[in-house]
């Protein structure tokens, strides 16, 4: 696949039946606990592979570590977090690279397999499709509250667990449904990723803001001004494609643009089967999943939020 259309990961066909799918991601710590940071970084790294319908197979660690300022045991815990997620995902660690750096960073490069005829892109949506989101929004805002020391322990635990949750189960479940398009929600925020879906497409999207799952506390923190710069940038970049109904307040609008870490999948599924898919997701433990909107024929390349 070429680079002309934005997609989640790179795909290279090897034979008629097998293509490899590759992606890489790394970042600075988002939670204080190194073990959980390792888990979240790993869950985030192969989320792109799941979003395209692939199965991650091998990974390499990428580490930048401040050896002079930090105890090496911190790094061990981060790597252990990553390893435990690999075990959960059935991924094998085949190597890695580390450098000394002032700022700690961890991430992974991931290679997976995918059938060349069964690649899910962001672009093949159909009119009438329903959109299902599998994780609640708000990690960017809550991480800002955590940095500011203003988040409660209860919320920290909740968001840590959410970020470390793999999109594996959701991806396996959606395989048995008529899913036309899929992406994972990360740094561009929900509306940023939806904008990528509808740009240059003969479709628009309508979202119902009341059905969009949001992590408890997010709206309060956003109302206090704990919104990361990335979220405002997302808004500035894509605002022109979005029409908000007057009932959607400014704070909710910002949450819909909030830059997510290890967010959920946004699944575009045939309208007739959306309820069944949602029910199966919920039955298998993806409790926050919700139908949040639909694909419209008109207005093209627009997102309407009601």
């Amino acid at each position: 696949m070429g680079l002309d259309r934005a997609d989640d990961a790179g795909v290279y066909r090897v034979t008629d039946d097998i293509a490899i799918i590759q992606t890489v991601d790394f970042f600075t710590p988002i939670v204080d606990d190194p073990y959980w940071f390792g888990q979240s970084a790993a869950a985030n790294a192969w989320s792109d592979v799941y979003a395209m319908g692939g199965v991650p197979k091998t990974a390499m660690n990428l580490v930048a570590f401040p050896l002079k300022d930090m105890d090496i045991s911190v790094l061990r815990q981060i790597i252990q977090g990553g390893l435990d997620k690999m075990k959960e995902a059935g991924v094998v660690l085949v190597g890695g690279h580390s450098v000394e750096d002032k700022e700690l960073k961890y991430g992974l490069s991931v290679t997976g397999f995918i059938h060349p005829d069964r690649i899910l892109t962001k672009k093949d949506l159909k009119q009438g499709d329903c959109l299902i989101l599998t994780k609640p929004l708000g990690t960017g805002i809550i991480n800002t509250a955590i940095k500011g020391g203003l988040a409660s322990t209860e919320i920290i635990e909740m968001v840590t667990r959410l970020m470390a949750t793999l999109n594996k189960d959701a991806a396996e479940i959606m395989e048995n449904y008529p899913v036309h398009a899929c992406t994972d929600i990360t740094g561009f925020g929900l509306l940023g990723h939806i904008a990528e879906m509808v740009i240059d497409c003969p479709f628009g999207i309508r979202l119902s803001s009341k059905s969009i799952p949001i992590i408890p506390g997010t709206l309060d923190y956003a109302g206090m001004g704990l919104v990361p710069a990335g979220t405002y940038n997302n808004r500035e970049f894509r605002e022109c494609m979005v029409e908000f109904a007057s009932s959607v307040d400014r704070i909710t609008q910002d949450v819909l643009f909030d830059a997510q870490t290890s967010g959920g999948l946004l699944i575009c599924v045939d309208n007739d089967r959306a309820d069944d898919l949602l029910q199966e997701l919920k039955e298998k433990g993806i409790k926050d999943a919700a139908i949040i909107g639909e694909v419209l024929g008109e207005p093209k390349e627009r997102i309407i939020v009601e």
């Binding site: 800002t144 509250a145 940095k147 500011g148 020391g149 203003l150 988040a151 409660s152 209860e154 919320i155 909740m158 408890p216 506390g217 709206l219 309060d220 923190y221 956003a222 109302g223 206090m224 001004g225 704990l226 919104v227 990361p228 710069a229 979220t231 405002y232 940038n233 500035e236």
Partner: protein, 199 residues
């Protein structure tokens, strides 16, 4: 009294935190915060608004001067922190019989089944479900209603079953759901709950 803060060169959330600290410690009537990026301008304005201050913003070159004043309607006390909305109401439901209401027991059992099935509509506010007296008979293998209670437990509702009652009916080893409890736990739960509903 005017408090001035220079937050240029700082990234979010530092300007908001400094503003918050200054307001809480010094209670100024006017606070002026200088920031040099758009995200900080929006966040500091928003924070001041959440503290009921009247906000004005002036742009000077690359900088924004965000000024907050205690208005007519604003509280003169120290700013109060909002509780995050994770704090759901806690509802405790106490079931003291194996059927609902008095009269016809067959109808009462049907009603109890329907009641417990519908209970999940309370959502996350449903906090504890306690079974006492004849109610404990709903938690044993022979009960038709047992699967409904097990479903609630799976969804995260904390189920408590009175140990004295199980012993009285000689059902201690037949209980299939929930945690065996004592009167102290029940009374403590009643005290912590925002609402106790008796059936």
């Amino acid at each position: 009294m005017t408090k001035e803060l220079d937050c240029r060169g700082l990234a979010c959330p530092a300007p908001v935190l400094q503003t918050k600290e200054a307001l809480e410690k010094e209670h100024p009537k006017v606070i002026k915060v200088v920031v040099d990026n758009e995200a900080s301008r929006q966040n500091v304005s928003r924070f001041m608004e959440s503290q009921n201050l009247e906000v004005t913003v002036l742009q000077e070159g690359p900088d924004f001067h965000v000024t907050g004043r205690i208005g007519k309607n604003a509280a003169t006390e120290a700013p109060v922190e909002k509780k995050p909305d994770t704090e759901h109401k806690k509802i405790m439901v106490m079931v003291a019989n194996d059927c609902m209401g008095h009269g016809d027991d067959e109808l009462g059992e049907k009603l109890m089944m329907s009641f417990l099935k519908t209970l999940k509509e309370m959502g996350e506010e449903l906090w504890r479900l306690v079974f006492v007296n004849n109610g404990v008979k709903l938690t044993i293998a022979d009960s038709n209603i047992l699967p409904v209670i097990q479903e609630l437990e799976k969804e995260g509702v904390h189920i408590l079953v009175c140990g004295t009652c199980l012993t009285h009916f000689n059902l201690l080893d037949k209980k299939q759901v929930g945690e065996t409890t004592n009167m102290l736990d029940i009374v403590t739960a009643m005290q912590l709950a925002d609402k106790v509903i008796n059936i």
